[in-house]
């Protein structure tokens, strides 16, 4: 049984690679997308087989409700609003990674009122927090990108003095919290508080990374955030020991990064200039 599931995961991984490859040619793109969606179905079926007999109430409810909401959003959106829709979906993807990590934390640590010391292997804890960090940044960053494209938030770059320094401090704060909670802490209450702090700081970081960027640069930002959400999925794969998750996450992470660079080049700008420029493009937001 386990072998069959592993082989299905392998087939799904290969189909994902072929599907993404086909998406780069106009002639094959549509079939490539279909191939990827077939791979996704296969991956879900394999996972359900792997889990065996469980209570499916939440699973079925989540799948049916999520599919319905996704389908309605996809069908109703105007063709001109596609990039912001992608941003929105990407935010959901990042949110999902964050929620998986959160669920794992509650089940294995917080529910038993435990601290991290000795409960989870250190590499699991670290990848768990990587998943939390990237998932949160993707979630809030994508929502800001959505708002900017949508006109709900000003397309102007919102930059205040010390923005980048504050971002740096946030990163230091997040890393410090993780090191503290992984390495030195034995108190369950502190473990919980610090974990929630990491989530909070990561969410703020996602907002502050995107607010300084002009509305016209949002497609590049969404592409980058998409790459992040792939990495978040990969981190989840490390936590769960699932190679297919690692493969697909890495694929999206890498191809997303390449696409981001191609898009920057098309605008004759460097990625750093887009991310930290904080000027220009102000009038063309949305």
């Amino acid at each position: 049984m386990k072998t069959a599931v592993a082989l299905m995961y392998l087939v799904a991984s290969i189909l994902f690679i072929l599907g993404l490859k086909m998406l780069t040619r106009v002639k094959t793109a549509r079939n490539g997308n279909r191939l990827s969606s077939t791979a996704m179905l296969l991956a879900v079926v394999a996972t359900l087989l792997d889990m065996g007999q469980v209570d499916y109430t939440f699973i079925i409810a989540g799948i049916v409700l999520g599919s319905a909401i996704g389908a309605i959003m996809a069908l109703k959106v105007e063709m001109t609003s596609m990039p912001e829709m992608v941003a929105m979906f990407n935010g959901f993807g990042g949110g999902a990674s964050l929620l998986v990590a959160g669920s794992f934390l509650f089940e294995n640590v917080f529910a038993g009122n435990l601290a991290f010391g000795g409960i989870l292997p250190m590499d699991t804890t670290i990848t768990l927090f990587i998943s939390v960090l990237i998932g949160s940044v993707t979630l809030t960053g994508s929502l800001i990108a959505f708002g900017k494209l949508n006109g709900k938030i000003s397309g102007q770059p919102i930059l205040f003095p010390g923005n980048n320094i504050l971002n740096l401090l946030l990163v230091v704060g997040i890393l410090g919290s993780v090191v503290f909670v992984v390495g030195f802490n034995e108190d369950p209450n502190i473990a919980f508080t610090v974990s929630m702090t990491v989530i909070g700081l990561s969410c703020v970081l996602g907002v502050l990374l995107v607010t300084p960027i002009g509305g016209a640069d949002m497609p590049v930002v969404i592409s980058l955030l998409n790459s992040y959400s792939g990495l978040a999925a990969s981190a989840t794969g490390f936590v769960l020991g699932n190679n297919m998750l690692i493969i697909c996450g890495a694929l999206v992470g890498a191809s997303g990064l390449i696409l981001t660079q191609i898009m920057c080049k098309a605008m004759n700008r460097s990625l750093a200039n887009v991310l930290f420029g904080g000027f220009g493009q102000a009038d063309s937001g949305g």
Binding site: G19, T24, S36, L48, S97, F106, A250, V252
Partner: protein
Amino acid sequence: MSPLLIGLYVFALAVFVGFEIITKIPPTLHTPLMSGANAVSGITIVGALFCARTADMTTANILGFLAILFAMINVVGGFMVTDRMLKMFGGKK
């Protein structure tokens, strides 16, 4: 080899595959590729399914349910929106 090391091998190789498959891409396909890859990143659904194995109203299970919900919105919405975009290219086959 430990599972972590195997995971790192797999990760590193998959990153290179990801770099290699995106070579020349026409600008019209930038947004569809972004959207399609975004749908693939909904693969987190695999992790989410494991998080909602019982119907107990524990925090872990409720977060698992929400994770499935979010991931499915990402997956189904992502693939459908990509298909709609690609359909515009004259339905070439």
